[in-house]
């Protein structure tokens, strides 16, 4: 079994680089039962989640991951907690965020079952 911390790290790298460079590519990480809680809104399903993310009001975004931690859950899943800063467009002040993921295994790979994003410090 792959080491869950390695999986979590790979996921985090992939997730944020895809988010920053090719946001529509994120839809492949979600499934019809996936739930996104973005700030105070919730969205279910890969298509709607991708739509929600793409519709966020910025052109350019850059995540800087400051911390990452992960724990395994029974059944091969992983719970991941990431915090960091988010630079949006050309705004000099980064937004700080905390994000929790539940990753579940699926055919040798993983998908995002829960994605809970929150800004924790204003710009």
């Amino acid at each position: 079994m792959a080491d869950y911390t390695a999986v979590a790290e790979q996921f985090i790298t992939y997730y944020y680089s895809t988010f920053d460079k090719n946001m529509p590519g994120l839809s492949g990480l979600y499934r019809p039962n996936s739930l996104l809680t973005f700030e105070s809104t919730q969205t279910q399903g890969a298509n709607d989640i991708a739509e929600k993310l793409v519709s966020l009001p910025f052109q350019k975004v850059e995540h800087q991951v400051a911390t990452k931690d992960a724990q395994p859950i029974p059944g091969g899943g992983i719970v991941v907690l990431v915090t960091g800063a988010l630079k949006v467009d050309d705004s000099p002040a980064p937004l700080n965020f905390a994000q929790t993921f539940i990753l579940l295994p699926e055919g040798g790979s993983y998908y995002v079952s829960h994605d809970i994003f929150k800004l924790v410090y204003p710009a």
Binding site: D3, T5, A8, E9, L35, T37, F38, E39, S40, T41, Q42, V65, A66, T67, K68, D69, A70, Q71, I73, P74, G75, V79, L81, T83, G84, A85, N96, A98, T100, I102, H114, I116, K118, L119, V120, Y121, P122, A123
Partner: protein, 653 residues
């Protein structure tokens, strides 16, 4: 602002309509005498047998293990046989276009519309350009290609301008087309009939005295039998969901449903699985008694849609289903429905392993944590979330050893990471040094910690290891009485064979040891992701716990985000320190105009609350020009629902 009210009563709110409740009397009278369930029905909401009587033999009644004669092997799934065919097809088969049929529209004259308005409406709805359109007397005549006639006739009796339009062929149609039309012509009428019929059936099968909806052996119901709905699997498969929908429409809210329907009887319906009736769980989530007697359920998989649903279910009847022969059948039932007291008329010897002791008195007193004004995204289980948070954090603060014993077991995991790069609240002049040396040795932040062994070691498993880490961390004080300091989401999540809560909590705490220390920060902000399960004894078990600590950043992030529909970040959106900051500045710079400060504060409050300038000023006036107090007051008034609508500059979302 969301103005989110998380009162459960608001969940599942539906259309208005008194329905079943109002018709209790007549429902009783209308009930057919051919049913034998009434006498055995429960008379109260507590668990008791919902059927002591032997089920009547029906044509659909099959012996355990035996397939019903007519049923498909994999259950009655909705069949789309009645789906509308695309325009230009007959029975779904594309036909060569040949010839035109003269049609007429009538009924429009009574609707106070002009013929051209009617034509425009029809062309839009039919998605069809009408040929040779001309008014003739009370009719509008037009022509359509022959192959499109069946589709267009589906729109006969279409609603328009408060009435109905008739769309009919002028002459008798060719036999080839008639064959294709027959079922569709009847359909709109059929749908209306179905709704009325189902309502009648529901009324006749509702037993007000015992609060039971008796949907047993529906195939023998005289009205349904007469309707022919049970003649075909396709219509049968539609009938149940339609009936659930009609049932749902009879109530305005969840409480009304809970109070009106305590038991549902689905016995003897030749059910091979419950996919057809799955929506029952959404319609009556708080059902206490449920009978599936004498159906053809063979495995738990066939009950899957109801797994962990019906969280209040006390009694279940599955006798007369092959599933009862499975090994561990009784144990497994209780794993899926943890509130079960009785199965197949036999009591479980031990009390139900429900999430917690749900006493008759209700949820009981919670420590103060007024969630009504808590701006959180999603809280799926308000009571449990509230109870857990308001007991867990005080326990963590006061006695960590007791806390670990109460909430953790040998499978629990805990890890902490420190985000030293998160900014601290600007203007926090008092707390100028953030000391992390107590935290860093245990920090499992994998951005910085690269040693695999250390990464492994710093995830503590089991109470002893967890407590060992906790003992190295500074003492904490989380203020659970101030909702402004908290923000969290709580989602129900499947975990092994149970349902738990995935909590993501954002907040702040104080380190009492550092409060008195000059020049050292005593406040921290944190994010904690906690997976909570029922511990089987009425309490909570923390299975996964990830704590992230960072410099104190206040709570305005989520206040701003939730109090305003579109949060344009205000230039200085930190409500709490700003007051101090402004005062300090005023002391240093006596030239500062007090009026200017007041205007600033009004501006701050407006940006935080969406109040109009007038109300913002009033609010500050009444709270002695203390922005924090003003925020509290605002939230309090808003939560109580007494905020005048004109107090807000922006409409409440």
């Amino acid at each position: 602002m969301t103005g989110r009210s998380s009162l459960p009563a608001n969940l599942g709110r539906n259309r208005t309509g008194g329905g079943i409740q109002k018709r209790r009397q007549s429902a009783r009278l209308d009930r057919e005498g051919d049913l034998d369930m009434g006498g055995q029905a429960p008379t109260g909401p507590r668990a008791r047998p919902i059927s002591g009587a032997k089920p009547r033999p029906t044509r659909s009644n099959t012996a355990p293990g035996q397939k019903p004669e007519a049923g498909p092997s994999k259950g009655f799934r909705p069949v789309r046989s009645n789906a509308r065919h695309p325009v230009g097809t007959v029975n779904g088969i594309k036909q060569p276009a040949g010839g035109f049929i003269e049609m007429k529209v009538s009924g429009w004259k009574e609707l106070k519309v002009t013929n051209s308005e009617t034509i425009v409406f029809l062309e839009r709805r039919l998605k069809e350009k009408l040929r040779r359109v001309r008014p003739v007397g009370d009719n509008i005549m037009f022509q359509v290609p022959l192959v499109k006639v069946p589709t267009i006739l589906e729109f006969d009796n279409i609603k328009f301008a408060g009435g109905n339009l008739r769309i009919q062929p002028v002459n008798e149609l060719p036999a080839s087309i008639q064959a294709a039309i027959k079922p569709t012509v009847d359909r709109s009428e059929e749908a209306q009939q179905l709704a009325t019929l189902l309502k009648n059936v529901l009324q006749s099968r509702y037993i007000a005295t015992s609060k039971m909806l008796d949907l047993s052996a529906l195939g023998t119901h005289p009205q349904l039998q007469g309707s022919g709905f049970f003649d075909q699997d396709s219509t049968r498969a539609k009938m149940f969901p339609a009936m659930m929908k009609v049932a749902d429409e009879q109530f305005t809210n969840r409480a009304e449903k809970r109070d009106s329907v305590v038991s549902v009887n689905l016995a003897s319906n030749t059910l091979n699985d419950i996919s057809m009736v799955a929506s029952l769980a959404a319609t009556f989530p708080e059902l206490k008694n449920l009978s599936l007697e004498n159906n053809n359920i063979t495995t738990f998989k066939q009950l899957e849609p109801w797994r962990f649903k019906f969280r209040k279910l006390e009694q279940l009847l599955l006798t007369g289903n092959p599933i009862t022969q499975l090994p561990n059948y009784r144990e497994d039932c209780r794993k899926w429905w943890k509130s079960l007291v009785m199965l197949d008329n036999e009591y479980y010897p031990d009390p139900p392993p429900a999430l917690r002791n749900d006493t008759a008195a209700g949820p009981g007193p919670f420590p103060p944590m007024p969630l009504m004004i808590q701006p959180s995204g999603v809280i799926e289980d308000q009571d449990h979330t509230n109870e857990f948070l308001s007991t867990f954090f005080p326990a963590f603060d006061t006695d960590r050893q007791l806390c670990v014993q109460t909430f953790y077991n040998h499978q629990s995991m805990f890890s902490i990471s420190v985000n030293v790069s998160a900014p601290r609240l600007s203007g926090d002049t008092k707390h100028n040094i953030q000391k992390w040396d107590a935290y860093i040795p245990k920090s499992r932040n994998m951005v910085r910690l690269r040693n695999p062994t250390a990464i492994k070691d710093r995830c503590a498993k089991g109470p002893t290891a967890i407590l060992k880490i906790w003992n190295t961390l500074p003492r904490t004080f989380h203020d659970v009485t101030d909702p402004l300091k908290w923000n969290y989401d709580s989602r129900n999540i499947s975990y092994e064979d149970t349902v738990g809560m995935l909590l993501t909590v954002h907040g702040e705490y104080e380190e009492p040891e550092n409060v008195a220390m000059e020049g050292i920060a005593s406040k921290r902000s944190f994010t904690r992701t906690i997976l909570v399960l029922p511990n089987g004894a009425g309490g909570y078990l923390v299975r996964r716990d990830m704590l992230l600590v960072r410099a104190y950043g206040g709570s305005s992030a989520w206040q701003a985000a939730t109090l305003m529909p579109q949060p344009p970040p205000p230039p200085q959106p930190q409500p709490q320190p700003v007051v101090a900051q402004v005062t300090e500045q005023a002391a240093v710079q006596p030239v500062a105009d007090p009026k200017e400060q007041m205007l600033q504060m009004i501006q701050q409050l407006i940006s935080q609350t969406g109040l109009t300038p007038k109300f913002a000023e009033m609010c500050l006036e009444q709270t002695g020009w203390d922005l924090t107090k003003a925020m509290h007051a605002f939230n309090k008034v808003r939560a109580s629902g007494s905020l005048p609508p004109d107090a807000l500059a922006q409409p409440v979302v």
